[in-house]
Symmetry: C2
Subunit: 199 residues, 2 copies
């Protein structure tokens, strides 16, 4: 079985990291040999989230070769946002919530896109469709990704599907007060706010 690396875009945000960990887990349950990796270190917000749910940051890679030539993309599809050797790889799966641009393949693949506020919202639906339970800590990451991408469901990209997913994920993750947690998390990501708090 081919090893498959799963990753989000360069300069990863919380959704890029959370969605890669979630999709790698989901596809592993279905029999694939997946590993979530990242195209950069977690930003301060994501670091807060990983610490909060006690999850190790994914290994940082710049290229997939020679380790593997088969990858899955989350939270992006545009080649210039992807891994350095993307043009030499086979993309087997994409889960994304952005426009499609410059993405071409030689063969058929799995592609799952929806115009939701967050990629982790799509993956939440995929877990439900497959009837696979989301582990508590992964639900915590995915809930944080929705909070991050939708600014606590306030961004204009927010849909009712994001709202429902966040509610379900927060319950699994044991987040009692989503707003309280969300504000703390968003503040951890904004150095300005953090500074203001210290001042």
């Amino acid at each position: 079985m081919t090893k498959e690396l799963v990753f989000g875009h360069k300069n990863p945000d919380t959704d890029a990291i959370a969605a890669s960990i979630a999709l790698a887990y989901l596809e592993k349950q279905k029999g694939a040999d997946t590993e979530a990796v990242a195209l950069g270190n977690p930003n301060p917000e994501t670091k807060f989230v990983l610490d909060y749910f006690d999850v190790k940051a994914p290994r940082v890679v710049n290229a997939a070769l020679p380790e593997t030539d088969t990858v899955m993309l989350v939270d992006h599809n545009e080649p210039q946002q992807s891994i350095d050797d993307i043009e030499s790889l086979t993309v087997n799966y994409v889960v994304d919530h952005h426009r499609i641009s410059g993405f071409n393949t030689a063969k058929p693949l799995y592609y799952r896109a929806a115009p939701y506020g967050c990629c982790s919202t799509i993956i939440t639906k995929m877990f439900a469709e497959e009837g696979i339970d989301i582990p508590k800590e992964i639900a915590g990451l995915m809930a944080s990704a929705i909070i991050s991408d939708t600014l606590l469901l306030k961004s204009p990209t927010t849909t009712s599907v994001d709202e429902e997913a966040l509610k379900a994920l927060a319950k699994i993750a044991g987040i009692e007060d989503v707003n309280e947690y969300g504000v703390k998390m968003l503040k951890a990501g904004t150095n300005v706010d953090a500074k203001t708090d210290q001042e």
Copy 2:
């Protein structure tokens, strides 16, 4: 609500026609104002299928404008295989089982691709996920599309998902002997065979 035209590729085959009728129906159940149309007249095989299940051939169109600027594509994504004014339209949904090539959008959209032998197989899964029943005659068209694209599950592109979908669809459609029906249908599409039979 924006009217949305749903269609397969130019020179439509049975999957292009069946998948457009199936997706238009599914999305209508979910509240969209959809109409299945076609980029050409049905070929002899598809004519046989439509007659067999007593379904009217979709209206043939060459352009979506000025009727609507919003469309859904099935069984293709490449612009040169699509409607003449594709570059002026918003593609809101794609369901396809081909490689992705030259397909770019300005905004996020629904895109559902899988490397199965037939687009109608993907839509069969979508009906199940949404918990929506497939009407008997639409199941007949979709079963025929799988038979057509996979040559009765014999083509190298055939997957176990196609097999399962065909079984389920044939049951709904009341096709008692899939092989007998399939051979009859495939023969209707090949003038050579038809001639041979007459000779």
